[in-house]
């Protein structure tokens, strides 16, 4: 890192970016290797050491007290007191500092505004101001744009430029190519915990995309050509909001046929999660329809959707997929516990559950000491196998797998992939959502690329990955256009996401 440089750290989810930065900020201890600041090795025992060494960090999830004012949050941890032993908080001084810093770097924040009233973009600005008041030279921004609307992102980039002009160095962690090209001076790409390349911002998007998703570990999946049958899942004009009431899925049309794998590729956070959650009935459908073999299933409860023959591997297994305190056997019946043979009326049938668990554990090669072991004691790969085993152990019409192999060891990846293909071959419609391009290419018979809540293109699996990379970055090349069946024009940053950011500027003025 050099003074006044913006260094982008690029990599997929789970590539190790955040871990690296947490080490740099003193939150984790390195197992080996060392950190050099101004040529000297640095031993960081905690964040306060890091702040002392001039390193500041803005976390992806803000570390702010929502009911405190901006000034109070900024002085938190470095409270100025006056009045000797009485120890009055010197709010005036804190306020002055806030004003000073925000003027110096052109970061407008009202020191008296209460955090919870502020929009996310401004909260982030408060975090930056907080770091700057601690006199840092190096600022780490951990996926700062993940939570921002496009407008807020633009503002953030402006702020970063002015910080750079003031001689601060910035490490900018992201997986969005556009932003990197717009702002970074130097780009380091990390993949599976290793630096796989350094690039200049002049590098083309597909070069970066290729580096990011990697091509050296190409996982090949043996499979016969698909024999697509009748459409099983039909999605038309689907509109879904995310948790912050911001449009996440904006008019998606999709069809998945029996006996084929539709891969949904795209950089994380372009609406894939919300799309499948809406199909599963976990998220309200605002407009459009979802049909399963002709039946409208939008508005159904999750249980009814599951009962209709939909298998679902959720994206985050530890949050949505498993109950860690429950045993392997219990997790294997988590969504069929009340159906025969596992439940009759109000009673559970422990014998049936245990027998089925034994069978599944063998069939899906789940490495566990016993079926009664709590699932939290298993490795990530085996936990994922438990979910896959559960979902594939009942007759399905549609199988939706989101990030089916995230954080899973290579052996388990191959096994899970082969199970997915096996399910396809018995005539189930399969939808695989993954941010690992290799995975999508390996599994899918057709690939739909999502970008900003829309399907920007649907291509075949033999499409050059550069082309898919471009689509993932929001660019539809001419070639892709020709192949697209129902392509949405992808050059629309001006229109995309604009309904989302309404409250941003307005409440900023109020505050």
């Amino acid at each position: 890192m050099e003074p006044g440089e913006i260094h982008a750290l690029l990599g997929e989810n789970g590539a190790g970016k955040s871990t690296l930065m947490n080490v740099l900020y003193g939150l984790y201890q390195p197992d080996e290797g060392e950190i050099l600041v101004d040529g000297k090795p640095l031993k960081l025992k905690g964040p306060s050491d890091a702040i002392g060494a001039g390193i500041g960090m803005v976390h992806q999830h803000f570390m702010l007290v929502p009911v405190f004012t901006v000034a109070e949050n900024i002085m938190l941890g470095a409270e100025q007191v006056r009045g000797g032993i009485a120890g009055f908080l010197d709010r005036r001084r804190a306020r002055r500092e806030v004003t000073e810093v925000s003027e110096r770097y052109n970061l407008r924040v009202d020191p008296d505004a209460v955090i919870e009233d502020l929009p996310v973009g401004i909260q982030q600005r408060v975090e930056i101001v907080k770091a700057l008041t601690r006199d840092v030279d190096l600022l780490i921004l951990d996926e700062p744009t993940a939570v921002l609307t496009p407008q807020e992102t633009e503002e953030l980039l402006t702020v970063m430029r002015s910080l750079k002009a003031a001689g601060k160095s910035i490490v900018f962690i992201t997986h969005k190519l556009g932003e990197v090209k717009a702002i970074a001076d130097r780009i380091t790409v990390i993949r599976r915990g290793k630096t796989v390349g350094t690039a200049s911002p002049d590098a083309s998007r597909d070069e970066l995309a290729a580096l990011m998703v990697g091509r050296n570990v190409r996982l090949t999946v043996d499979k016969a050509p698909a024999t697509p049958g009748e459409p099983v899942l039909e999605v038309t004009g689907l509109v879904v909001d995310d948790d912050r009431q911001i449009r996440a899925v904006d008019g998606v049309d999709l069809t998945v046929r029996a006996g084929e794998v539709l891969g949904v590729a795209g950089v994380q956070g372009n609406g894939q999660t919300e799309l499948i959650e809406a199909i599963m009935g976990l998220r309200p459908v605002l407009a459009g329809t979802v049909s399963l073999v002709g039946d409208r299933i939008d508005g159904w409860k999750p249980k009814k959707v599951l009962r209709a023959g939909v298998g679902y591997v959720p994206e985050d297994r530890s949050v949505d997929g498993l109950i860690k305190e429950f045993s392997v056997a219990e997790n294997l019946v988590l969504d069929i516990y009340d159906r025969p043979p596992f439940g009759a009326g109000l009673a559970l049938k422990p014998d049936a559950i245990a027998a089925s668990a034994k069978e599944r554990i063998e069939q899906f090669d789940v490495r566990t000491s016993s079926a009664d072991a709590s699932v939290g004691t298993l490795s990530g790969g085996n936990q994922q196998k438990v979910i896959v085993a559960r979902e594939l152990s009942r007759p399905l019409k549609l199988f939706i797998a989101a990030q089916p192999t995230r954080g899973v060891d290579v052996g388990s990846i191959e096994f899970i992939h082969s199970q997915i293909i096996r399910e396809r071959d018995i005539g189930t419609a399969v939808m695989v959502v993954s941010s690992e391009l290799d995975e999508v290419i390996g599994l899918a018979d057709r690939i739909a690329v999502m970008y900003r809540g829309r399907i920007i293109g649907i291509v075949g699996p033999d499409t050059p990955r550069e082309e898919i990379g471009l689509l993932m970055a929001g660019i539809s090349p001419d070639v892709a256009h020709e192949r697209n069946t129902d392509a949405v024009p992808g050059d629309g940053p001006a229109t995309d996401g604009s309904p989302a950011s309404g409250p941003g500027s307005a409440s900023e003025d109020e505050a």
């Binding site: 516990y337 559970l348 016993s370 298993l378 790969g381």
Partner: protein, 456 residues
Amino acid sequence: MTNPPTPQSGSPDKEPVSEAQAAQNALGNTERAEVATKPGGSASTPEPEQKPSLGRLFMDNLWAANTFTVTLLSLVLAIVVGAVLMIISDPAVLSTYSYITSRPSDAITSSWTLVSEAYANLFKGSVFDPEAFSGWLNGTGSWQAVLAPISETLTYAAPLVFTGLSVALAFRGGLFNIGAQGQATIGVIMAALAGFLLPLPPGLHLLVAVLAGALGGAIWGFIPGILKARAGAHEVINTIMLNYVATYFLTWLIVQNGVQDPNRTDAISKAVDTSAQLPRLLGDNLRVHAGILLAVLATWAVAWLLNRSTLGFELRAVGANPDAARTAGISVTRTYILIMVFAGILAGLGGSNMVLGSTASALTPLVVAQIGFDGILVALLGRVKPWGVLLAALLFGALQAGGNRMQSYSGISLELVTVLQALIVIFIAAPALVKAIFQLRAARAARLQTSLAKGW
């Protein structure tokens, strides 16, 4: 213990949330390894699923969780601190400490006499009185006198089993039911009203009165349940507030026409008809009544519900991970409502015990005593497991019963019992403290978590 490293503990991509969890994992593995080695070479023969009996569950608790040791040590610590308090609060004994350097034997003897007699009376009043036993053998005493301590213990324990189960059940579903007191209060009101207003034949009358109590509790549990499910209102706040509503409703109701005893001017209601009272188990001289049998039945029912029913599966799933439960198609809101209704039913039954049993036969403002709040302690002490709750309630019942005798024979205030109860719970809630005092091994203590610390 010779445990080969299990494959799980070495996997690089395991994601232990914390050190504690990692230790827990490691511990879990070693334990399972032990279990696995037990059957010897016959591991291939599938072991039939054993029906968990009371004894088996007790042994499981003893073996699987080190919680038993900590519970026991907490008891010991509480008794030690209680002894110190007795000494401090007794001026005669305390005065011997002023000349302890010259005659230490005085201080030690008098302290020992005081403390040992007090705890002996606690024991005699709650479990077994050797003098009564020898009296019975000599023919000077009756067998009732021998069973009197146990009878008292069971009488005090019965309502606590219900309220303890109420809190424990809700907690397993991820809800903190502070409202057992209010639910018991509404339960006691409904049971008493049914008990003296309805002219029903014996048997049926009792059944109706008990069910009325359960219904009252169910209503009072349903309110915070639906508020939580539909409006997201925190159940802790709402149940606390409903406790007040219930208490003052009872105070108001007692002095209304038709409820108040016409022969009395103070706040007491008519007495419950004898046809609606729970039968005494050991004759009229001993207070133990059928409530304790109902309590055991309820414990079994809750244990079955939690571990062997689809509803219990949903309840535990929602309690452990509502997100995963929802994703698996379980209706979290419906489960929250059901949990609170069931918790209310249990607390309401506990309330019914207070007026249909032998503790009191009429409503007074204090008729429910503290059973709802004590239920929280009982649930915590019982580690929110049904049979654990039963044992904890028996302990609390014994402390109550023994405390009475301790007060009349040793002159130790009954409040000391309350202090003892509080101390036990404090030590249990702070396993790290007990661990430090007794130098328990870290790996074992790592899996001890404060049972009720979650949910805030």
